[in-house]
Amino acid sequence: MTPALDPRDRGGPGQPLVSVRGLVKHFPIKKGLGRARAVVQAVDGIDFDILKGETLGVVGESGCGKSTTARLLMGLIPHDRGDLLFDGEAIGGRDLPLRDFRRQAQMVFQDSYSSLNPRMTIEASISFGPRVHGTPARRAIEEARALLARVGLEPARFAGRYPHELSGGQRQRVNIARALALNPRLVVLDEAVSALDKSVEAQVLNLLLDLKEEFGLTYLFISHDLNVVRFICDRVAVMYLGRVVEIGPAEAVLGAPAHPYTAALLASMPSLDPDRRTEEPPLAGDPPNPIDPPSGCRFHPRCAWGEPVCAKEDPALADIGPHHAVACLARQPGAAHSRAPLLEREAA
């Protein structure tokens, strides 16, 4: 993947576009008057990089913190702790104020209807961002129409319409056009195709791939659909209860999962290929309450490999292969888990 030449590029192609380090967000729950009694640990110390020009997928069950991560990254909600770097500069810091960052990073939301103002025409919605940044109205409208054509909506027919006059797939194309109107480098796609039906979903995914190449974009692609993630993503991060439990190249993570949770996620997906059949038992029960997560490894109560040591030690992300990291005691050499040394010898 050759990253596009971009005048705004600072660190060169080797520097990640986004670096997230130790990101923490706890939502306090207020009970009546008085101070918070409990906190939801929505995102609890996650690290990942998004490389320039790649598509990083984030997968996990609902409530695992995928969307919260996206909103924290975009600065829609403030984070409690941790560092967010965009091309080497702290987001919202002195060198990269939030307003400048937002020119370079945009987001497409899941609900295509709720993300368009019902009182504004399509072209007005798309041109809003550029106009805020000082583009004259006439030129902003012209650009909006060109973008509409680019996302496959004939401007003459659609530019003057209102959101309710469009189908879900058409609206999502408009949302993509709106995100592109500010000429961003990073686009966060938060379940952007999940609400579309399968044939439309495929069209929009292909559009996203084309646009990525044309505009030199980098995607953060959040989804619960492993098939879609396998299709569109270069790398995948698997989240469980506010933590990243596995991250690595898509074919490695989804082809040969190292974390038992990733394996269970894949096993829950009906497979038509007998060679891919997973031997792991399917996941039982719901994810635990993020207000009071389990001790040690957060996955141990549901884990097929769970051992007493898992309830005591909290595994950190550790490399197990090229660019492939996993947070599991059973994969860590020297850990007290019974499987750990065995895997070490196998690898040697």
């Binding site: 050759t2 596009a4 030449l5 971009d6 975009m74 829609l76 939030l98 307003r99 937002r102 020119r103 990073a105 945009q106 987001m107 939301f109 609900d111 209807y113 709720s114 993300s115 368009l116 103002n117 019902p118 009182r119 504004m120 025409t121 919605s125 809003f128 961002g129 805020v132 940044h133 030129r139 012209e142 650009e143 129409r145 060109a146 973008l147 054509a149 680019r150 004939e154 401007p155 003459a156 027919r157 530019a159 003057g160 319409r161 209102y162 309710h164 006059e165 949302n175 709106r178 592109l180 500010l182 000429n183 190449e213 044309e214 505009f215 030199g216």
Partner: protein, 308 residues
């Protein structure tokens, strides 16, 4: 893979030659949101009827100094409490022998003024408070809305009378006290509507585009919240007219001999056993205007519901 030139591909229309026929197609124009509302309203016979009644009454009230058949202030002790259908007094005469029709026409001016003005003022003030509280949220919302809640502890009639009594009688003070009664109600509606809109993804998308809060409220929020608040405000006009009449009835608003529907109702109260139909006429006028405003605001509400 070639490196795309970003800005060029954004500004130049990227239509493939096959998809773009030589003559530029005419741009389709949607009639727009208010166009839809207007058309739907025109198809609602009840709303049209109510609107026509309001227009007629407003026109008559405005033109009354020139079109009243008789002097609304000159009475005749000999011709008091004539019944409806009297050859001289078409709608009868009041307890001082003044022509009811003329007085009803002139009274419309003050009654409508006192009914509509507090609602307009409260619409402006209440919307501002509610939208700020709803959009900013957090502590500011708590402080503003709990303060507003204090006003709800009093029944609106009692509040209007108390404020009016404290400020003293008079049209201006009556309007001020009625405005104070309606501001909390409108602010509460505005706050709840704004809080809902605030959570829509398009507001987040607007924040992501780097717009200031003021721009977001002006462009993205206002158009979506003013409609529902306006509908609620029109339904308050009838309440306002009745409260204004009530204040005049108690002597806290308009003073005799100035004609005002509430005041006329008060003075004709003594004649209710002598000539009940004539005594009920000001009430009928209040009822007609109130119900017209209510029906019109109902029609407006259903016309403003966005199709999904």
């Amino acid at each position: 893979m070639s490196a795309p030139v970003q800005t060029a591909s954004l500004t130049a229309p990227a239509l493939p030659a096959a998809a773009a026929p030589a003559p530029a197609p005419a741009f389709e124009r949607s009639p727009g949101y208010w166009g839809h509302v207007g058309r739907k309203l025109l198809r609602d016979p009840v709303a049209i009827g109510a609107g026509l009644v309001i227009l007629t009454i407003v026109a008559v009230a405005i033109l009354s100094p020139w079109i009243t058949p008789m002097d609304p202030y000159r009475g005749s002790m000999l011709r008091r409490l004539r019944p409806i259908g009297d050859p001289t007094y078409i709608l009868g005469s009041d307890e001082l022998g003044r022509d009811m029709l003329s007085r009803l026409m002139v009274a419309g001016r003050l009654s409508l003024f006192m009914g509509v003005t507090p609602v307009i003022l409260a619409f402006l003030i209440g919307s501002a408070i509610g939208i700020v509280a709803g959009y900013v949220g957090g502590w500011l919302n708590t402080i503003l809305m709990r303060t507003i809640d204090v006003f709800f502890a009093f029944p609106s009639v009692l509040l209007a009378i108390a404020l009016s009594g404290a400020l003293g009688a008079g049209i201006f003070n009556a309007i001020v006290s009625l405005t104070c009664v309606f501001v909390p109600q409108i602010a509460r509606v505005a706050e709840s509507v704004t809080t809902q809109i605030r959570q829509r993804d398009y507001v987040d998308a607007a924040r992501l585009s780097g717009a200031s809060s003021f721009t977001i409220v002006r462009v993205q929020v206002l158009g979506n919240v003013l409609g529902p608040i306006f509908v609620y405000a029109t339904s308050l006009i009838s309440v306002s007219m009745i409260l204004a009449s009530g204040l005049s009835f108690l002597g806290l608003g308009v003073k005799p001999p100035e004609p005002e529907w509430g005041l006329m109702l008060n003075t004709l109260r003594t004649a209710i056993y002598v000539n009940p139909l004539v005594a009920a006429l000001p009430g009928l006028a209040i009822f007609l205007v109130s119900i017209s405003f209510n029906l019109f605001s109902d029609g407006l509400r259903s016309a403003m519901e966005v199709k999904e």
